[in-house]
Protein backbone atom coordinates (compact mmCIF):
# COMPACT_ATOMS: atom_id res chain seq x y z
CA UNK A 1 0.00 0.00 0.00
CA UNK A 2 1.14 3.53 -0.70
CA UNK A 3 1.62 6.12 2.00
CA UNK A 4 -1.80 7.65 1.32
CA UNK A 5 -3.63 4.32 1.26
CA UNK A 6 -2.91 2.16 4.28
CA UNK A 7 -4.61 0.13 6.98
CA UNK A 8 -4.59 3.31 9.10
CA UNK A 9 -6.24 5.41 6.38
CA UNK A 10 -8.93 2.74 5.98
CA UNK A 11 -9.45 2.68 9.76
CA UNK A 12 -9.88 6.48 9.76
CA UNK A 13 -12.35 6.13 6.85
CA UNK A 14 -14.34 3.47 8.72
CA UNK A 15 -14.43 5.61 11.88
CA UNK A 16 -15.60 8.60 9.84
CA UNK A 17 -18.56 6.73 8.36
CA UNK A 18 -19.46 5.37 11.79
CA UNK A 19 -19.19 8.79 13.47
CA UNK A 20 -21.33 10.29 10.72
CA UNK A 21 -23.96 7.55 11.12
CA UNK A 22 -24.06 7.76 14.92
CA UNK A 23 -24.30 11.56 14.75
CA UNK A 24 -27.21 11.26 12.34
CA UNK A 25 -29.01 8.73 14.55
CA UNK A 26 -28.58 10.86 17.68
CA UNK A 27 -29.44 14.12 15.87
CA UNK A 28 -32.80 12.78 14.72
CA UNK A 29 -33.44 10.74 17.87
CA UNK A 30 -37.14 11.56 17.72
CA UNK A 31 -37.30 9.62 14.46
CA UNK A 32 -34.77 6.90 15.24
CA UNK A 33 -34.79 6.08 18.97
CA UNK A 34 -38.11 7.23 20.36
CA UNK A 35 -40.74 5.61 18.06
CA UNK A 36 -39.71 1.98 18.73
CA UNK A 37 -39.82 2.61 22.48
CA UNK A 38 -43.37 4.00 22.25
CA UNK A 39 -44.56 1.24 19.89
CA UNK A 40 -43.09 -1.53 22.04
CA UNK A 41 -44.53 0.02 25.19
CA UNK A 42 -47.96 -0.23 23.55
CA UNK A 43 -47.29 -3.86 22.62
CA UNK A 44 -46.38 -4.63 26.23
CA UNK A 45 -49.49 -2.91 27.53
CA UNK A 46 -51.92 -4.46 25.03
CA UNK A 47 -50.49 -7.92 24.31
CA UNK A 48 -48.73 -8.42 27.60
CA UNK A 49 -50.67 -6.75 30.37
CA UNK A 50 -54.22 -6.73 28.92
CA UNK A 51 -54.56 -9.69 26.51
CA UNK A 52 -51.62 -11.63 27.98
CA UNK A 53 -53.43 -12.18 31.29
CA UNK A 54 -56.16 -14.14 29.47
CA UNK A 55 -53.66 -16.10 27.32
CA UNK A 56 -51.96 -17.66 30.31
CA UNK A 57 -48.69 -19.47 29.67
CA UNK A 58 -46.78 -19.83 26.39
CA UNK A 59 -43.82 -22.20 26.11
CA UNK A 60 -43.98 -22.73 29.85
CA UNK A 61 -43.66 -19.01 30.60
CA UNK A 62 -46.09 -16.19 31.50
CA UNK A 63 -47.19 -14.67 28.16
CA UNK A 64 -45.76 -11.27 29.07
CA UNK A 65 -42.32 -12.80 29.70
CA UNK A 66 -42.58 -14.91 26.56
CA UNK A 67 -43.11 -11.98 24.17
CA UNK A 68 -40.32 -9.76 25.56
CA UNK A 69 -37.41 -11.38 23.61
CA UNK A 70 -39.46 -11.46 20.41
CA UNK A 71 -40.43 -7.82 20.71
CA UNK A 72 -36.82 -6.79 21.32
CA UNK A 73 -35.84 -8.82 18.25
CA UNK A 74 -38.66 -7.19 16.26
CA UNK A 75 -37.21 -3.80 17.20
CA UNK A 76 -33.65 -4.81 16.39
CA UNK A 77 -34.63 -6.24 13.00
CA UNK A 78 -36.73 -3.29 11.83
CA UNK A 79 -34.26 -0.69 13.08
CA UNK A 80 -31.10 -2.23 11.67
CA UNK A 81 -32.82 -2.79 8.32
CA UNK A 82 -34.47 0.62 8.30
CA UNK A 83 -31.34 2.50 9.33
CA UNK A 84 -29.31 1.27 6.38
CA UNK A 85 -32.10 1.64 3.83
CA UNK A 86 -32.91 5.21 4.85
CA UNK A 87 -29.32 6.33 5.33
CA UNK A 88 -27.69 4.69 2.31
CA UNK A 89 -30.61 5.28 -0.04
CA UNK A 90 -30.80 8.88 1.21
CA UNK A 91 -27.11 9.29 0.35
CA UNK A 92 -27.75 7.75 -3.06
CA UNK A 93 -30.81 9.90 -3.68
CA UNK A 94 -29.04 13.10 -2.57
CA UNK A 95 -25.95 11.99 -4.51
CA UNK A 96 -23.66 12.50 -1.49
CA UNK A 97 -22.81 8.81 -1.71
CA UNK A 98 -20.44 10.07 -4.43
CA UNK A 99 -18.27 11.47 -1.62
CA UNK A 100 -17.54 7.85 -0.72
CA UNK A 101 -17.45 6.49 -4.25
CA UNK A 102 -14.67 8.86 -5.37
CA UNK A 103 -12.66 8.25 -2.20
CA UNK A 104 -9.97 5.56 -1.88
CA UNK A 105 -12.15 3.53 0.49
CA UNK A 106 -12.69 -0.05 -0.70
CA UNK A 107 -16.27 -1.45 -0.77
CA UNK A 108 -15.83 -3.56 2.36
CA UNK A 109 -14.94 -0.51 4.46
CA UNK A 110 -18.00 1.40 3.20
CA UNK A 111 -20.13 -1.65 3.95
CA UNK A 112 -18.58 -2.09 7.41
CA UNK A 113 -19.22 1.58 8.24
CA UNK A 114 -22.90 1.50 7.33
CA UNK A 115 -23.47 -1.89 8.99
CA UNK A 116 -21.80 -0.66 12.20
CA UNK A 117 -24.03 2.41 12.22
CA UNK A 118 -27.10 0.20 11.87
CA UNK A 119 -25.88 -2.09 14.65
CA UNK A 120 -25.41 0.94 16.91
CA UNK A 121 -29.02 2.00 16.36
CA UNK A 122 -30.35 -1.55 16.72
CA UNK A 123 -28.48 -2.09 19.99
CA UNK A 124 -29.53 1.33 21.31
CA UNK A 125 -33.24 0.76 20.66
CA UNK A 126 -32.95 -2.89 21.75
CA UNK A 127 -31.53 -1.70 25.08
CA UNK A 128 -34.25 0.92 25.50
CA UNK A 129 -37.00 -1.62 24.77
CA UNK A 130 -35.36 -4.06 27.20
CA UNK A 131 -35.50 -1.36 29.88
CA UNK A 132 -39.19 -0.73 29.14
CA UNK A 133 -39.84 -4.50 29.21
CA UNK A 134 -38.15 -4.67 32.60
CA UNK A 135 -40.84 -2.34 33.91
CA UNK A 136 -43.57 -4.79 32.85
CA UNK A 137 -41.99 -8.18 33.44
CA UNK A 138 -38.78 -7.63 35.37
CA UNK A 139 -35.22 -8.11 34.08
CA UNK A 140 -34.20 -11.60 32.99
CA UNK A 141 -30.79 -12.76 31.78
CA UNK A 142 -30.23 -16.50 31.38
CA UNK A 143 -27.06 -16.36 29.27
CA UNK A 144 -25.43 -12.97 28.67
CA UNK A 145 -23.08 -14.18 25.90
CA UNK A 146 -25.88 -15.77 23.86
CA UNK A 147 -28.09 -12.71 24.34
CA UNK A 148 -25.48 -10.23 23.19
CA UNK A 149 -24.10 -12.33 20.33
CA UNK A 150 -27.56 -13.07 18.89
CA UNK A 151 -28.53 -9.42 19.24
CA UNK A 152 -25.42 -8.26 17.36
CA UNK A 153 -25.53 -10.97 14.69
CA UNK A 154 -29.22 -10.35 14.00
CA UNK A 155 -28.59 -6.63 13.63
CA UNK A 156 -25.73 -7.36 11.20
CA UNK A 157 -27.81 -9.80 9.11
CA UNK A 158 -30.71 -7.37 8.67
CA UNK A 159 -28.46 -4.39 8.12
CA UNK A 160 -26.89 -6.35 5.25
CA UNK A 161 -30.34 -7.15 3.88
CA UNK A 162 -31.26 -3.48 4.13
CA UNK A 163 -28.09 -2.54 2.27
CA UNK A 164 -29.10 -4.72 -0.69
CA UNK A 165 -32.53 -3.10 -0.67
CA UNK A 166 -30.95 0.37 -0.67
CA UNK A 167 -28.61 -0.51 -3.54
CA UNK A 168 -31.45 -1.61 -5.78
CA UNK A 169 -33.92 1.09 -4.68
CA UNK A 170 -34.61 3.78 -7.25
CA UNK A 171 -37.24 5.71 -5.33
CA UNK A 172 -38.43 6.04 -1.73
CA UNK A 173 -41.30 3.57 -2.35
CA UNK A 174 -38.71 0.88 -3.04
CA UNK A 175 -37.34 1.04 0.50
CA UNK A 176 -40.76 0.58 2.10
CA UNK A 177 -42.02 -2.35 -0.02
CA UNK A 178 -39.71 -5.02 1.44
CA UNK A 179 -40.22 -4.00 5.11
CA UNK A 180 -44.00 -3.90 4.65
CA UNK A 181 -44.62 -6.94 2.51
CA UNK A 182 -41.73 -9.24 3.44
CA UNK A 183 -40.05 -8.25 6.69
CA UNK A 184 -43.15 -7.56 8.74
CA UNK A 185 -44.97 -10.83 7.88
CA UNK A 186 -41.75 -12.80 8.44
CA UNK A 187 -41.27 -11.19 11.84
CA UNK A 188 -44.87 -11.63 12.99
CA UNK A 189 -44.83 -15.28 11.83
CA UNK A 190 -41.35 -15.81 13.27
CA UNK A 191 -42.42 -16.80 16.77
CA UNK A 192 -42.52 -13.35 18.36
CA UNK A 193 -46.03 -13.80 19.79
CA UNK A 194 -46.30 -17.59 19.84
CA UNK A 195 -44.24 -20.72 20.13
CA UNK A 196 -43.76 -22.41 16.72
CA UNK A 197 -44.40 -25.73 18.48
CA UNK A 198 -48.07 -24.68 18.57
CA UNK A 199 -48.27 -24.74 14.78
CA UNK A 200 -49.74 -27.85 13.09
CA UNK A 201 -47.25 -30.21 11.33
CA UNK A 202 -46.71 -28.72 7.86
CA UNK A 203 -47.03 -25.11 9.09
CA UNK A 204 -44.28 -25.81 11.63
CA UNK A 205 -42.00 -27.10 8.83
CA UNK A 206 -42.74 -23.99 6.75
CA UNK A 207 -42.08 -21.74 9.74
CA UNK A 208 -38.61 -23.26 10.08
CA UNK A 209 -37.64 -21.80 6.68
CA UNK A 210 -38.00 -18.37 8.27
CA UNK A 211 -34.61 -17.20 9.62
CA UNK A 212 -36.31 -14.94 12.15
CA UNK A 213 -37.63 -18.05 13.97
CA UNK A 214 -34.03 -18.98 14.76
CA UNK A 215 -33.03 -15.50 15.84
CA UNK A 216 -36.04 -15.01 18.11
CA UNK A 217 -35.63 -18.42 19.70
CA UNK A 218 -31.90 -18.07 20.25
CA UNK A 219 -32.46 -14.67 21.82
CA UNK A 220 -35.29 -16.06 23.95
CA UNK A 221 -32.86 -18.72 25.15
CA UNK A 222 -30.35 -16.02 26.04
CA UNK A 223 -32.87 -14.07 28.12
CA UNK A 224 -35.18 -16.81 29.45
CA UNK A 225 -33.46 -20.15 28.81
CA UNK A 226 -36.21 -21.59 26.56
CA UNK A 227 -36.10 -22.21 22.81
CA UNK A 228 -38.08 -24.10 20.14
CA UNK A 229 -34.96 -24.85 18.07
CA UNK A 230 -31.51 -26.18 19.02
CA UNK A 231 -29.09 -23.32 19.69
CA UNK A 232 -26.36 -24.56 17.34
CA UNK A 233 -28.82 -24.72 14.44
CA UNK A 234 -29.91 -21.15 15.23
CA UNK A 235 -26.30 -19.91 15.17
CA UNK A 236 -25.55 -21.87 11.99
CA UNK A 237 -28.58 -20.34 10.26
CA UNK A 238 -27.65 -16.82 11.36
CA UNK A 239 -24.06 -17.26 10.16
CA UNK A 240 -25.16 -18.74 6.82
CA UNK A 241 -27.61 -15.89 6.16
CA UNK A 242 -25.03 -13.35 7.26
CA UNK A 243 -22.27 -14.80 5.07
CA UNK A 244 -24.49 -15.00 1.98
CA UNK A 245 -25.81 -11.47 2.43
CA UNK A 246 -22.30 -10.12 3.08
CA UNK A 247 -21.04 -11.75 -0.11
CA UNK A 248 -23.94 -10.34 -2.13
CA UNK A 249 -23.47 -6.82 -0.69
CA UNK A 250 -19.75 -6.84 -1.41
CA UNK A 251 -20.25 -8.04 -4.97
CA UNK A 252 -22.92 -5.40 -5.66
CA UNK A 253 -20.75 -2.64 -4.20
CA UNK A 254 -17.63 -3.78 -6.02
CA UNK A 255 -19.46 -3.85 -9.34
CA UNK A 256 -21.07 -0.51 -8.55
CA UNK A 257 -24.59 -1.82 -9.16
CA UNK A 258 -27.02 1.07 -8.82
CA UNK A 259 -24.13 3.41 -7.95
CA UNK A 260 -21.69 3.71 -10.85
CA UNK A 261 -22.78 4.13 -14.49
Amino acid sequence: MSEKVSARSYWIGYQTILIKEVTRILRIWAQTLLPPVITMSLYFVIFGAIIGRRVGEMGGLPYMDFIVPGLIMLTVITNSYGNVTSSFFGAKFGRHVEELLVSPLPPWIILAGYISGAVFRAVAVGLLVWLVAGFFSGFHMHNFLVTVSVLLLTAVVFALAGFINAIYAQKFDDISIIPTFVLQPMTYLGGVFFSVSLLPGIAQQIALINPIVYMVNAFRYGLLGVTDVPLWIAYAMIFIFGAVLFGVCLRLLSRGVGLRS
Binding site: M1, S2, K4, V5, S6, R8, S9, Y10, I12, G13, Q15, T16, I17, I19, K20, A91, G94, R95, H96, E98, E99, L100, L101, V102, S103, P104, L105, P106, G256, R260, S261
Partner: protein, 319 residues
Protein backbone atom coordinates in the same frame (compact mmCIF):
# COMPACT_ATOMS: atom_id res chain seq x y z
CA UNK B 1 5.61 12.25 -14.76
CA UNK B 2 2.18 12.56 -16.30
CA UNK B 3 -0.63 13.49 -13.94
CA UNK B 4 -3.14 11.85 -16.25
CA UNK B 5 -2.79 9.36 -19.08
CA UNK B 6 -5.82 8.21 -20.99
CA UNK B 7 -5.43 5.49 -23.62
CA UNK B 8 -8.07 4.33 -26.09
CA UNK B 9 -10.83 5.08 -23.62
CA UNK B 10 -14.28 4.01 -24.75
CA UNK B 11 -17.63 4.25 -23.06
CA UNK B 12 -20.92 2.94 -24.32
CA UNK B 13 -23.83 3.32 -21.92
CA UNK B 14 -26.44 0.60 -21.46
CA UNK B 15 -28.91 2.59 -23.55
CA UNK B 16 -26.50 2.36 -26.49
CA UNK B 17 -25.22 5.94 -26.30
CA UNK B 18 -21.54 6.02 -27.27
CA UNK B 19 -20.06 8.76 -25.08
CA UNK B 20 -16.34 8.18 -25.74
CA UNK B 21 -14.95 6.70 -28.94
CA UNK B 22 -11.43 5.66 -27.95
CA UNK B 23 -9.76 8.85 -26.78
CA UNK B 24 -6.10 9.43 -25.88
CA UNK B 25 -5.11 12.26 -23.60
CA UNK B 26 -2.07 13.27 -21.55
CA UNK B 27 -1.91 15.92 -18.87
CA UNK B 28 1.54 16.79 -17.53
CA UNK B 29 2.22 17.12 -13.81
CA UNK B 30 1.77 20.74 -12.68
CA UNK B 31 -0.26 21.69 -15.75
CA UNK B 32 -3.37 23.86 -15.76
CA UNK B 33 -5.40 22.02 -18.36
CA UNK B 34 -8.72 22.94 -19.94
CA UNK B 35 -11.15 20.38 -21.27
CA UNK B 36 -13.70 22.00 -23.51
CA UNK B 37 -16.57 20.69 -25.55
CA UNK B 38 -20.21 21.33 -26.30
CA UNK B 39 -23.05 19.78 -24.31
CA UNK B 40 -23.03 15.98 -24.53
CA UNK B 41 -19.52 15.88 -26.02
CA UNK B 42 -18.28 13.39 -23.41
CA UNK B 43 -16.47 15.67 -20.92
CA UNK B 44 -18.44 14.55 -17.88
CA UNK B 45 -18.15 10.91 -18.89
CA UNK B 46 -14.37 11.29 -19.14
CA UNK B 47 -14.20 12.94 -15.72
CA UNK B 48 -16.56 10.28 -14.36
CA UNK B 49 -14.21 7.52 -15.53
CA UNK B 50 -11.11 9.27 -14.16
CA UNK B 51 -12.81 9.69 -10.78
CA UNK B 52 -14.20 6.11 -10.91
CA UNK B 53 -17.86 7.19 -10.84
CA UNK B 54 -18.31 5.74 -14.33
CA UNK B 55 -16.99 2.36 -15.46
CA UNK B 56 -15.10 2.48 -18.76
CA UNK B 57 -16.17 0.03 -21.48
CA UNK B 58 -12.52 -0.37 -22.51
CA UNK B 59 -9.21 1.45 -22.44
CA UNK B 60 -6.97 2.58 -19.62
CA UNK B 61 -6.73 5.58 -17.32
CA UNK B 62 -3.67 6.29 -15.19
CA UNK B 63 -3.28 8.96 -12.53
CA UNK B 64 0.39 9.65 -11.73
CA UNK B 65 1.11 6.25 -13.27
CA UNK B 66 -1.47 4.42 -11.12
CA UNK B 67 -4.19 2.58 -13.00
CA UNK B 68 -7.71 3.69 -12.08
CA UNK B 69 -9.08 0.38 -13.34
CA UNK B 70 -6.58 -1.92 -11.55
CA UNK B 71 -5.55 0.05 -8.45
CA UNK B 72 -8.56 2.26 -7.80
CA UNK B 73 -7.87 3.13 -4.16
CA UNK B 74 -4.32 4.40 -4.74
CA UNK B 75 -5.36 6.30 -7.85
CA UNK B 76 -8.30 7.96 -6.07
CA UNK B 77 -6.05 9.09 -3.21
CA UNK B 78 -4.33 11.43 -5.70
CA UNK B 79 -7.52 13.06 -7.04
CA UNK B 80 -9.76 15.82 -5.72
CA UNK B 81 -13.02 16.20 -7.60
CA UNK B 82 -15.24 19.26 -7.80
CA UNK B 83 -18.36 17.91 -9.51
CA UNK B 84 -20.64 19.83 -11.81
CA UNK B 85 -23.63 19.53 -9.50
CA UNK B 86 -23.83 20.09 -5.76
CA UNK B 87 -23.62 16.63 -4.21
CA UNK B 88 -23.05 17.12 -0.49
CA UNK B 89 -25.64 16.47 2.19
CA UNK B 90 -27.43 19.79 2.48
CA UNK B 91 -28.53 18.94 6.02
CA UNK B 92 -24.94 18.93 7.22
CA UNK B 93 -22.72 21.83 8.12
CA UNK B 94 -19.90 22.89 5.76
CA UNK B 95 -17.28 22.20 8.44
CA UNK B 96 -18.55 18.64 8.98
CA UNK B 97 -18.77 18.01 5.22
CA UNK B 98 -15.13 18.97 4.71
CA UNK B 99 -13.86 17.15 7.82
CA UNK B 100 -15.73 13.95 6.93
CA UNK B 101 -14.41 14.02 3.39
CA UNK B 102 -10.92 14.23 4.85
CA UNK B 103 -11.72 11.13 6.91
CA UNK B 104 -12.71 9.16 3.80
CA UNK B 105 -9.22 9.90 2.46
CA UNK B 106 -7.55 8.81 5.70
CA UNK B 107 -6.77 12.31 6.98
CA UNK B 108 -6.74 12.17 10.82
CA UNK B 109 -9.68 14.08 12.28
CA UNK B 110 -7.56 16.71 14.04
CA UNK B 111 -5.64 17.45 10.82
CA UNK B 112 -8.85 17.47 8.77
CA UNK B 113 -10.33 20.06 11.15
CA UNK B 114 -7.32 22.34 10.74
CA UNK B 115 -7.45 22.02 6.97
CA UNK B 116 -11.21 22.56 6.91
CA UNK B 117 -10.72 25.84 8.76
CA UNK B 118 -7.90 26.85 6.42
CA UNK B 119 -9.70 26.11 3.14
CA UNK B 120 -13.08 27.40 4.28
CA UNK B 121 -11.35 30.63 5.36
CA UNK B 122 -9.43 30.94 2.08
CA UNK B 123 -12.66 30.46 0.15
CA UNK B 124 -14.53 33.00 2.26
CA UNK B 125 -16.82 30.48 3.95
CA UNK B 126 -15.52 30.34 7.51
CA UNK B 127 -18.33 32.53 8.86
CA UNK B 128 -20.81 30.02 7.35
CA UNK B 129 -18.92 26.92 8.47
CA UNK B 130 -21.41 25.91 11.16
CA UNK B 131 -24.65 26.76 9.37
CA UNK B 132 -26.79 24.22 7.55
CA UNK B 133 -25.39 23.87 4.03
CA UNK B 134 -28.81 24.21 2.46
CA UNK B 135 -28.88 27.85 3.59
CA UNK B 136 -25.78 28.70 1.51
CA UNK B 137 -26.10 30.61 -1.76
CA UNK B 138 -25.25 28.94 -5.07
CA UNK B 139 -21.80 30.54 -5.17
CA UNK B 140 -21.06 29.47 -1.60
CA UNK B 141 -22.06 25.90 -2.36
CA UNK B 142 -19.66 25.84 -5.32
CA UNK B 143 -16.84 27.12 -3.10
CA UNK B 144 -17.69 24.49 -0.50
CA UNK B 145 -17.25 21.83 -3.19
CA UNK B 146 -13.73 23.17 -3.80
CA UNK B 147 -12.87 23.21 -0.08
CA UNK B 148 -14.13 19.62 0.19
CA UNK B 149 -12.02 18.52 -2.77
CA UNK B 150 -8.89 20.11 -1.27
CA UNK B 151 -9.06 18.68 2.25
CA UNK B 152 -6.85 15.67 1.43
CA UNK B 153 -4.51 17.93 -0.58
CA UNK B 154 -4.68 16.01 -3.86
CA UNK B 155 -1.98 16.14 -6.51
CA UNK B 156 -4.63 16.34 -9.23
CA UNK B 157 -7.64 18.63 -8.86
CA UNK B 158 -10.45 18.14 -11.36
CA UNK B 159 -13.04 20.89 -11.59
CA UNK B 160 -16.14 20.19 -13.68
CA UNK B 161 -17.62 23.59 -14.50
CA UNK B 162 -16.83 25.05 -11.07
CA UNK B 163 -18.05 28.56 -11.84
CA UNK B 164 -21.30 27.79 -13.66
CA UNK B 165 -23.97 30.20 -12.48
CA UNK B 166 -21.58 32.10 -10.21
CA UNK B 167 -21.40 35.91 -10.32
CA UNK B 168 -18.29 37.51 -11.73
CA UNK B 169 -16.84 38.71 -8.40
CA UNK B 170 -17.00 35.27 -6.81
CA UNK B 171 -15.85 33.69 -10.08
CA UNK B 172 -12.72 35.84 -10.02
CA UNK B 173 -12.01 34.98 -6.38
CA UNK B 174 -12.38 31.30 -7.28
CA UNK B 175 -9.97 31.73 -10.20
CA UNK B 176 -7.46 33.35 -7.86
CA UNK B 177 -7.73 30.45 -5.40
CA UNK B 178 -7.39 27.79 -8.10
CA UNK B 179 -4.45 29.61 -9.69
CA UNK B 180 -2.69 29.67 -6.30
CA UNK B 181 -3.37 25.95 -5.85
CA UNK B 182 -1.84 25.30 -9.26
CA UNK B 183 1.17 27.51 -8.55
CA UNK B 184 1.74 25.53 -5.35
CA UNK B 185 2.16 22.39 -7.51
CA UNK B 186 -1.28 20.84 -7.87
CA UNK B 187 -2.18 19.77 -11.39
CA UNK B 188 -5.55 21.25 -12.36
CA UNK B 189 -7.98 19.99 -15.00
CA UNK B 190 -10.85 22.34 -15.66
CA UNK B 191 -13.95 21.93 -17.77
CA UNK B 192 -15.87 25.08 -18.40
CA UNK B 193 -18.34 26.74 -20.70
CA UNK B 194 -16.77 30.12 -19.97
CA UNK B 195 -14.13 30.10 -22.66
CA UNK B 196 -12.65 33.30 -21.27
CA UNK B 197 -11.95 31.27 -18.13
CA UNK B 198 -10.00 28.66 -20.07
CA UNK B 199 -8.06 31.30 -22.02
CA UNK B 200 -7.11 33.22 -18.88
CA UNK B 201 -6.25 30.32 -16.61
CA UNK B 202 -5.07 27.36 -18.64
CA UNK B 203 -1.79 26.58 -20.35
CA UNK B 204 -2.95 23.55 -22.34
CA UNK B 205 -6.28 22.62 -23.78
CA UNK B 206 -8.18 19.70 -25.28
CA UNK B 207 -11.42 20.07 -27.15
CA UNK B 208 -13.72 17.09 -27.13
CA UNK B 209 -16.62 16.66 -29.50
CA UNK B 210 -18.87 13.67 -30.18
CA UNK B 211 -16.70 11.51 -27.90
CA UNK B 212 -13.43 12.33 -29.69
CA UNK B 213 -10.56 14.71 -29.01
CA UNK B 214 -10.61 17.16 -31.92
CA UNK B 215 -7.79 19.38 -30.62
CA UNK B 216 -5.13 18.92 -27.97
CA UNK B 217 -2.45 21.57 -27.74
CA UNK B 218 -1.32 24.64 -25.81
CA UNK B 219 -3.71 27.59 -25.54
CA UNK B 220 -1.02 29.73 -27.19
CA UNK B 221 -0.67 27.40 -30.19
CA UNK B 222 -4.42 27.13 -30.51
CA UNK B 223 -4.91 30.86 -30.49
CA UNK B 224 -2.14 31.12 -33.09
CA UNK B 225 -4.36 29.15 -35.43
CA UNK B 226 -6.93 31.88 -35.35
CA UNK B 227 -6.37 33.58 -38.71
CA UNK B 228 -9.37 35.89 -38.76
CA UNK B 229 -10.43 38.31 -36.05
CA UNK B 230 -13.75 40.11 -35.94
CA UNK B 231 -14.00 43.65 -34.62
CA UNK B 232 -17.10 45.64 -33.74
CA UNK B 233 -16.85 49.34 -34.59
CA UNK B 234 -19.20 51.88 -33.00
CA UNK B 235 -19.66 54.82 -35.39
CA UNK B 236 -20.03 58.46 -34.48
CA UNK B 237 -22.76 59.04 -37.12
CA UNK B 238 -25.21 56.63 -38.81
CA UNK B 239 -24.43 55.33 -42.29
CA UNK B 240 -26.59 53.56 -44.90
CA UNK B 241 -24.22 51.06 -46.49
CA UNK B 242 -21.14 49.22 -45.33
CA UNK B 243 -18.02 50.19 -47.25
CA UNK B 244 -16.34 47.53 -49.40
CA UNK B 245 -12.76 46.69 -48.46
CA UNK B 246 -10.76 44.24 -50.52
CA UNK B 247 -9.96 41.04 -48.58
CA UNK B 248 -12.11 41.96 -45.57
CA UNK B 249 -15.73 41.25 -44.76
CA UNK B 250 -17.54 44.38 -43.55
CA UNK B 251 -21.14 44.08 -42.39
CA UNK B 252 -23.45 46.87 -41.22
CA UNK B 253 -25.24 45.51 -38.17
CA UNK B 254 -27.20 48.70 -37.54
CA UNK B 255 -26.74 52.30 -38.77
CA UNK B 256 -24.06 53.02 -36.19
CA UNK B 257 -22.39 49.58 -35.87
CA UNK B 258 -20.03 47.91 -38.30
CA UNK B 259 -18.61 44.42 -37.96
CA UNK B 260 -15.28 43.83 -39.69
CA UNK B 261 -13.73 40.35 -40.13
CA UNK B 262 -10.06 40.84 -40.90
CA UNK B 263 -7.43 38.20 -41.76
CA UNK B 264 -4.40 38.40 -39.49
CA UNK B 265 -2.20 38.92 -42.56
CA UNK B 266 -3.92 42.26 -43.23
CA UNK B 267 -3.20 45.49 -41.42
CA UNK B 268 -5.93 47.37 -39.60
CA UNK B 269 -4.57 50.55 -41.19
CA UNK B 270 -6.10 49.50 -44.52
CA UNK B 271 -9.53 49.37 -42.93
CA UNK B 272 -9.17 52.80 -41.36
CA UNK B 273 -7.93 54.31 -44.61
CA UNK B 274 -11.10 53.10 -46.39
CA UNK B 275 -13.30 54.36 -43.54
CA UNK B 276 -11.52 57.70 -43.67
CA UNK B 277 -12.14 57.94 -47.43
CA UNK B 278 -15.85 57.36 -46.86
CA UNK B 279 -15.92 59.95 -44.11
CA UNK B 280 -16.87 57.35 -41.52
CA UNK B 281 -15.69 58.24 -38.01
CA UNK B 282 -15.14 55.46 -35.49
CA UNK B 283 -16.08 56.23 -31.89
CA UNK B 284 -14.82 52.96 -30.34
CA UNK B 285 -13.76 49.46 -31.29
CA UNK B 286 -13.75 46.05 -29.56
CA UNK B 287 -13.27 42.35 -30.29
CA UNK B 288 -16.58 40.77 -31.23
CA UNK B 289 -16.04 37.66 -29.14
CA UNK B 290 -13.54 35.92 -26.99
CA UNK B 291 -10.82 34.64 -29.30
CA UNK B 292 -10.96 31.11 -27.99
CA UNK B 293 -14.68 31.06 -28.47
CA UNK B 294 -14.25 31.72 -32.18
CA UNK B 295 -11.89 28.76 -32.49
CA UNK B 296 -14.12 26.59 -30.37
CA UNK B 297 -17.09 27.29 -32.61
CA UNK B 298 -15.04 26.45 -35.68
CA UNK B 299 -13.57 23.26 -34.24
CA UNK B 300 -16.83 21.77 -33.09
CA UNK B 301 -18.76 23.04 -36.12
CA UNK B 302 -21.31 24.98 -34.17
CA UNK B 303 -23.51 27.40 -36.01
CA UNK B 304 -23.83 31.04 -35.00
CA UNK B 305 -26.94 30.34 -32.95
CA UNK B 306 -25.31 27.72 -30.75
CA UNK B 307 -22.18 29.64 -29.88
CA UNK B 308 -23.65 32.28 -27.56
CA UNK B 309 -25.47 29.57 -25.60
CA UNK B 310 -22.22 27.76 -24.94
CA UNK B 311 -20.55 30.98 -23.92
CA UNK B 312 -23.42 31.87 -21.63
CA UNK B 313 -22.61 28.89 -19.46
CA UNK B 314 -25.54 26.60 -20.00
CA UNK B 315 -25.45 23.46 -17.89
CA UNK B 316 -24.29 20.37 -19.65
CA UNK B 317 -26.71 17.50 -19.57
CA UNK B 318 -24.81 14.43 -18.40
CA UNK B 319 -24.83 11.68 -20.99
Amino acid sequence: MKALEVRQLRKTYKNGVVALKGIDLDVAEGDFFALLGPNGAGKSTLIGIVSSLVNASSGETRVFGISVQNDRSRAMAEIGLVPQEVNFNQFEKPFDIVVNQGGYYGVPRAVAKQRAERYLTQLGLWDKAFRMSRTLSGGMKRRLLIARAMVHEPRLLILDEPTAGVDIEIRRSMWRFIREINEAGTTVILTTHYLEEAENLCRNIAIIDHGQIVENTSVKTLLGKLDIETFVLDLRSPIEHAPVVDGMEIVLRDPTTLEASIPKSRSLNGLFQVLERHGIQVKSMRNKANRLEELFVRLVHLDDGAAPAAAAGEQETPA
